[in-house]
């Protein structure tokens, strides 16, 4: 009795006895090979001055148990102590039932004629083999009933107390495990931040994600039991063992011998199991990595038609995984079988040999019985221990596999404090060399640059120029030589200082999901808010698990670094940059399509209502009132879909969006109640019939389907079947009548007029119907009237249901779920009037300008979501975001390596002009140039030739020139530059030949000047100028005019919104 206190019954019951408790601490799990042992020796040497890596190598690498002990010994000991403290009470509760029966009910306590008996004699009923009970208190005198009730109440009390103990222990163990898991995960993540470039090259994102998410998960579950369970159960098993030994040394030795065999044999058998386990873990991690790769590169998979190949590849992997798993199972259950056999061997020997001794008279029968009884007490804790041991092995394997990814040699050193001085002065490369796996990229480069400067590195087509730029940006650490500033090695600077002072923008902008703004200020998220986490509990937990204590989410933005005072100014700064670069208009468009949260933009929300009214008045004044049909709660909007008219708002859940509306229970309830459901079914039939008629014969996937049909090509057969059922039903009704019996019969043979599923499918169709556009003649005034009634009822019913899900239109309120543009228009454009969109757009544009709404709208545009990896943006936009992210940081040194090339020719030129104007006085600019075309614009020019960097050369014509100069001088300079190049070119070979690089076409000087003038005009303050053209407050019927990116230069020639709009339509 009472041995399974700790079990909690949750552990998997497998194996009866496949090994005994072992002192696991510090013992390497089986199966290490020499190679790993050697590596382990190498680790402490590197980990010496690196606490985190020290953790990784010492605490993490050597043993999971050491790691657990280091970070949770206090908790482990506390829980152990509580478990021990709970034991006497637990044993008492096991003993009580016997006493209730024996002493109180059967009256054994009153046997000798006693009227009273002692109550609350505290006795510990120990296991039989322990011998006598322990008496603690002599108790009160009570009679039989009092004794019965007393003992019963005590039993109840003990049950409660034991329950409470168990509750506390379980929670404490769970919390302990989760804390360790949190610590482990956080540590692993922190280590990822420090992966060396070499390690990163070999790292697959999805594999690392799998490690942190899945592979460490079981470790957390195990940690709570890591010490407590073996300590507790081991003691129990050892006690039983000792008892057997005391009874009979030989039988004891026998039992010990069998257990010993288990000790020796089972781990050997398991070694193979561990090896397989490791393989499996690696294989499944690689599977995750592979799936991640395929998903990331899905475009390439499709464009190369490699789907079948990829499928086969994954199928092969899965087959391998299955094989491994099968081998593991075979091995595992074989081990289990052996284990059971050995465990059953002991009783066999006891009976056989013990019986022999007993018959011979060398062992008393009593002893034999006691030994066998004691042995019966041995298996339960043993079994638990074995389960625990299996879990331990499993977890340890996982743990080791995880560690392999985080060995210190894969990590960069910790950031140490160092210099933090501005990067001005003589920057010198001294014998800098960079060795790549395939050979040297830079060899012994020595040169000096006086910073601040504007430096161009002209590439010869090889990697040297880029690599040198990366060395300057500290993105690449030179393998030999050093870079110094005023004689101090740059590595003396603190890492944090350098990353603040140097900005780097490469050819591949890296964007995170989030808004434009979040992506742009990403580099300013460097100032943890002063206050720590305010929630004391969260703070304590963070401390306990080695997690950061800085609050999150919070405002981490370092406004001082951007040179602004607050978020508003920062927005203005960002918009200023975007406008100058020429993306202001695009952001303005994002704003028009963006949503206005009245909570966040109360001013704009209020002004939008104003503008909405002004818009209407203005249209009326221009005689264009008929071009827009406003949203009116009491009227059916003919230019809007049936669904829009029904909801009279914008759905915020998918359950109310599109066709799902037809399935929504509340909507259906209202439609049925108002009888509209029948009308909609009839409309659906007619739409389906028309679509079937006119789209039949078009191949599926034809663009006309996508653009015009209510049905997709795949749905045609389905709707055909629905209509056929209807025809059959009606024919049958005509022939056999409509009696209840007939209806039943028809339903029986599958001809119920419509199953409700059919009805739903049909109702879904007219939801998108707009009479003036689709012209099927389905809607009459009566229908409109009833629909408006249903609108009101739906709103009430939805409100009553309390589900929300619709942001209703309200003439006096901003509809937060609708695009800003729709809020401004608050109605739908009448598309059947020629040029309606253009006319309304022109009016809207004029209004926005007049009311000076553009800056606010553009700010809303900063909330535009960029999507995963910025995929909602164009390549050019991504590049701009990446560049502005670097610019708002106001770096001492900005290094561009192909950052402008995705921007397209015109914009790249604009941006270059802008940068040349802004840099060179306090901050330096280093740009890698694909060729000589714009080299003359740089004050200092370096030339990459093979693995060498030559220069700097300062074109004589431009040495002390500001970027703005008249065209003639520039032309001269260019000519001079070309001559210089010709002199020097032979070494570079043909690599300097003109390539199709952006911003480098042999454009006439005039075009350049026009561009520059355009740029100069853009200097005019405020983002307002961005609104000059192409505002598109069109109705929802018009597709988002994403294609319409009208160039700034166009706008400057005079705003002509109608033209722009026509471009949009084209």
């Amino acid at each position: 009795m009472g041995r399974r206190t700790m079990s909690g019954g949750a552990r998997a019951a497998e194996g009866t006895a496949d090994g005994m408790a072992r002192d696991t601490d510090d013992r390497p799990a089986g199966g290490r090979d020499g190679d790993r042992a050697a590596r382990r020796e190498a680790i402490p040497a590197r980990a010496g001055n690196d606490p985190e890596a020290g953790d990784a190598s010492g605490g993490l690498d050597r043993s999971l148990f050491r790691y657990i002990w280091r970070h949770s010994k206090r908790d482990q000991i506390l829980i152990c102590a509580v478990v021990l403290a709970s034991l006497p009470l637990y044993f008492a509760s096991l003993d009580l039932p016997r006493r209730i029966v024996n002493e109180a009910i059967q009256g054994h306590a009153f046997e000798k004629g006693n009227e009273t008996a002692k109550f609350l004699v505290l006795r510990l009923q120990m296991p039989d083999w322990f011998g006598h009970d322990l008496s603690l208190f002599d108790g009160f005198d009570v009679d039989r009933f009092e004794l019965l009730f007393g003992l019963s109440s005590m039993f109840l009390l003990l049950v409660l107390i034991n329950g409470a103990f168990k509750y506390w222990i379980n929670v404490a163990k769970g919390a302990l495990g989760e804390r360790m898991l949190r610590r482990l995960r956080f540590q692993l993540f922190s280590l990822i931040m420090r992966f060396s470039p070499d390690a990163l090259r070999h790292t697959k994102a999805s594999e690392v994600a799998t490690i942190i998410r899945d592979e460490v998960e079981p470790i957390g579950g195990f940690i709570g039991d890591a010490y407590i369970l073996p300590a507790f159960l081991g003691t129990q098993a050892a006690t039983a063992m000792t008892f057997i030994l005391l009874q009979n040394v030989w039988l004891g030795l026998l039992a010990a011998g069998v257990v010993g065999v288990q000790f020796v044999v089972i781990p050997r058998l398991r070694r193979e199991l561990l090896r397989l386990g490791r393989q499996r873990q690696l294989a499944s991690r690689r599977l995750a990595g592979r799936v991640g790769e395929v998903v990331d590169g899905i475009a390439a998979v499709h464009s190369n038609g490699a789907e079948a190949w990829e499928r086969a590849e994954i199928g092969h992997r899965l087959g391998g995984l299955f094989d491994l798993r099968l081998r593991i199972y075979r091995r595992k259950f074989m081990v289990k079988f052996l284990n059971n056999l050995l465990a059953q061997m002991t009783p066999f020997l006891f009976y056989c040999i013990g019986g022999y001794f007993a018959l011979k008279g060398q062992l008393s029968i009593g002893q034999l019985v006691a030994v066998i009884a004691a042995y019966r007490d041995l298996p339960p804790p043993l079994k638990e221990l074995i389960d625990w041991d299996q879990q331990r092995l499993d977890v340890q394997v996982k743990y080791e596999q995880v560690l392999q990814q985080f060995l210190p040699e894969r990590l960069l050193g910790l950031d140490a404090p160092g210099r933090d001085e501005s990067l001005c002065g003589r920057l010198a490369a001294e014998g800098v060399g960079v060795q790549e796996p395939h050979g040297p990229v830079l060899a012994n480069v020595s040169l000096a640059l006086p910073l601040p400067a504007i430096v161009g590195i002209v590439s010869d087509g090889g990697p040297a120029a880029s690599t040198f730029a990366r060395v300057l940006a500290r993105r690449t650490v030179p393998t030999s030589g050093r870079v110094t500033l005023e004689g101090h090695d740059l590595s003396e600077w603190a890492g944090a200082a350098l990353t603040r002072r140097i900005a780097f923008a490469g050819v591949d902008p890296i964007l995170f999901p989030g808004s434009l703004r979040e992506n742009i200020v990403y580099g300013l998220n460097r100032r943890p808010p002063d206050s720590a986490v305010t929630d004391a509990k969260a703070l304590a937990e963070a401390h306990r698990t080695g997690n950061p204590v800085a609050p999150f989410p919070a405002d981490w933005i370092d406004y001082a670094q951007a040179g602004v005072a607050d978020a508003g100014e920062l927005d203005a700064l960002i918009l200023d940059w975007l406008t100058r670069i020429g993306m202001g208009e695009e952001v303005y468009r994002f704003g028009l399509l963006g949503q206005v949260d009245p909570e966040r933009h109360p001013d704009l929300a209020a002004r939008l209502i104003e503008a909405r009214i002004a818009f209407r008045e203005r249209l009326a004044a221009e005689g264009h009132a008929h071009l827009v049909e406003p949203f009116d709660p009491a009227r059916y909007n003919r230019q809007a879909t049936v669904a829009e008219n029904l909801l009279f708002g914008v759905p915020t859940t998918t359950a109310l969006t599109g066709r799902a509306l037809a399935e929504h229970p509340v909507v259906r309830l209202v439609l049925d109640r108002t009888g509209l459901a029948d009308d909609l079914v009839t409309m659906g039939e007619r739409i389906a019939a028309t679509m079937l008629e006119i789209f039949r014969g078009l191949p599926s996937g034809h663009p006309l389907f996508e653009q015009f049909s209510f049905l997709s090509a795949d749905e045609l057969p389905e709707y055909e079947a629905i209509l056929a059922r209807r025809t059959a039903t009606e024919a049958s009704a005509e022939r056999h009548g409509t009696s209840a019996f007939e209806r039943l019969r028809r339903r029986w043979i599958g001809l119920g007029r419509y199953g409700s599923a059919d009805a739903t499918r049909l109702i879904a169709l007219p939801l998108a119907y707009i009479e003036p556009r689709h012209r099927l003649g389905l809607i009459d005034d009566a229908f409109r009237e009833r629909l408006v009634e249903a609108r009101g009822e739906l709103r009430i019913t939805l409100d009553e249901a309390g589900l929300g899900g619709v942001d209703f239109y309200d003439p006096d309120r901003v509809c937060a779920a609708a695009p800003l543009r729709d809020n401004l228009l608050f109605g739908r454009i009448n598309q059947s009037v020629a040029d309606a969109v253009e006319t309304v757009t022109a009016t809207g544009t004029a209004l926005v300008q007049e009311m000076r709404l553009a800056p606010d709208i553009t700010r809303v545009g900063l909330d535009h979501q960029v999507g995963p990896e910025g995929r909602f943006l164009s390549g050019s936009q991504r590049a701009v975001v990446s560049l502005v992210r670097a610019l708002v940081r106001r770096p001492d040194l900005l290094v561009l390596d192909g950052a402008l090339s995705p921007m397209g020719e015109n914009r790249a030129r604009t941006v270059l002009e802008l940068l040349l104007e802004r840099f060179g006085r306090e901050n330096s600019l280093v740009a890698v140039l694909p060729n000589d075309r714009v080299a003359d614009r740089f004050a200092l020019v370096l030339r990459a030739v093979g693995t060498q960097i030559h220069g700097p050369e300062a074109p004589p014509a431009r040495q002390d020139d500001v970027p703005r100069q008249d065209a003639a001088a520039r032309q001269d300079a260019a000519a001079g530059q070309d001559a210089a190049v010709r002199e020097e070119a032979p070494a570079a070979g043909g690599a300097l030949a003109d390539g199709p690089e952006p911003g480098t076409d042999p454009d006439p000087e005039e075009a350049r000047r026009a561009e520059r003038d355009a740029f100069a005009a853009a200097d005019a303050p405020g983002a307002g100028s961005s609104a000059s053209g192409g505002v598109v407050p069109a109705g929802a019927g018009v597709a988002a005019p994403a294609a319409a990116v009208s160039r700034r230069a166009d706008n400057e020639t005079g705003p002509e919104p109608a033209r722009v709009e026509q471009d949009v339509k084209a």
Binding site: T690, L698, L776
Partner: protein
């Protein structure tokens, strides 16, 4: 006025006379009905040809700008198709078309029209037949002017 009436109008156009009604319905369905106010332009000479128009109601004038103001070349009434040559030849508009009273027209988008042509040989053949017919007419006129 519904799709059906538009199909009826389309059937009046010689080019579409022999096309299957279901196809005409598709053509009508994929086109837009637009209203022009009195004096509103369909398109100007030199504009890109992005659509043909079938006049459903009202009248439109085809004009060319001359030295003494616009010269009216023709007045188009209901069921007249205008601008179809432009979208077939992919050339800028050769004349200006203006509504002279409030006019309703069916705007047949160029892209959609070409899509239909490539998809349904029957329509393509009908168009070819009409064009060949017109060419023959022109040839005859030319012959008459030469002889006359």
């Amino acid at each position: 006025m519904t799709l059906e009436t538009e199909v009826q109008s389309l059937r009046q156009v010689p080019m579409f006379r022999e096309v299957d009604p279901a196809r005409l319905k598709l053509l009508a369905f994929t086109s837009e009905r637009v209203h022009f106010a009195d004096g509103q332009r369909f398109f100007d000479r030199g504009d890109a040809a992005d659509a043909a128009y079938l006049i459903l109601e009202g009248e439109a004038a085809v004009t060319l700008d001359g030295p003494q103001g616009p010269i009216r070349l023709a007045l188009l009434g209901a069921n007249a198709l205008v601008g179809e040559m432009g979208i077939l030849a992919d050339q800028p508009r050769s004349a200006t078309v203006t509504a002279v009273v409030a006019t309703t027209a069916l705007r047949i988008d160029r892209r959609v029209f070409l899509e239909l042509l490539s998809q349904f040989p029957q329509i393509a053949i009908a168009v070819m037949r009409e064009l060949a017919h017109r060419l023959e007419m022109t040839n005859q006129q030319l012959a008459q002017t030469r002889t006359g």
